[in-house]
Point group: C2
């Protein structure tokens, strides 16, 4: 019997990630599983330290928002929401780096049974049906991945 | 609250589709949902009527196996297995045509809440991480899609 005891939800503040959260919340409750809410900030990947110094204030603001509109506060809010809805074990993880790579790393480290992800991230091109992060995670994950539209 | 009341499992007899079945069976039971077991036979797409006539016996044998090793009997066996495991509503659907297109059609017709599919079908190239059917279904489905490895 396939068991789902740990679920990873990747959030970036996009509409599809909010729907993915609803799905993950439902699934986690039904399976009496633990929920790991993940947000990866990759905005600094392409910003050199020099620019960081010159535009310190702007950089700090972007960093606080994770470049995706998900602030640390918001991640905590989702944790509270999940706990209030009856999920017993909830954890948040915030990382910097390449979003797909970090989501896959965390899935391995935490040994999750299911990754839930929105079909399109906040920075996805409207012309594509699947964002690049969802695309990579679906291709390279070792566990089942659920793509929510 | 996101609800899962109808789950579609696409099966072609591949190893990943068997793992996808285990996942679907678990999910369906946990959500007290209905399960639709789907197999699409697309072997005749590229076989002309003329060849069908000339190689009638072989063609019939391939047709019986759905070109994928999933005979109608096997589909019924999975239905029995699902029912015996406690799933109340189980239905099987067998179609001929393009696998991805038919899975998407059935998902629409049956208004399912979740499609479960193996990452690689029986005819998938070993070099690719995701088979072409799983790839298309993940890109074009209107509902959440879970890819099982």
């Amino acid at each position: 019997m396939h068991m789902i005891s740990k679920v990873l939800i990747a959030m970036d503040g996009s509409e599809s990630s909010l729907r993915a959260y609803e799905y993950a919340s439902f699934l986690t409750k039904r399976c009496d599983a633990a929920l790991i809410i993940v947000n990866v900030c990759d905005v600094f990947e392409k910003i050199t330290d020099k620019i960081k110094q010159e535009f310190g204030d702007i950089a700090k603001k972007i960093e606080a928002e994770g470049g995706t509109g998900i602030t640390m506060q918001l991640l905590d809010d989702y944790k509270s929401q999940a706990e209030n809805s009856g999920i017993k074990q909830v954890k948040t993880i915030r990382r910097e780096g390449n979003a797909a790579a970090e989501i896959l790393h965390i899935a391995d480290e935490e040994n999750v049974d299911n990754i839930i992800i929105g079909s399109k991230g906040i920075k996805s091109d409207k012309e594509f049906l699947l964002g690049s992060v969802s695309y990579k995670v679906t291709h390279y994950a070792k566990c089942p991945v659920t793509v929510v539209r």
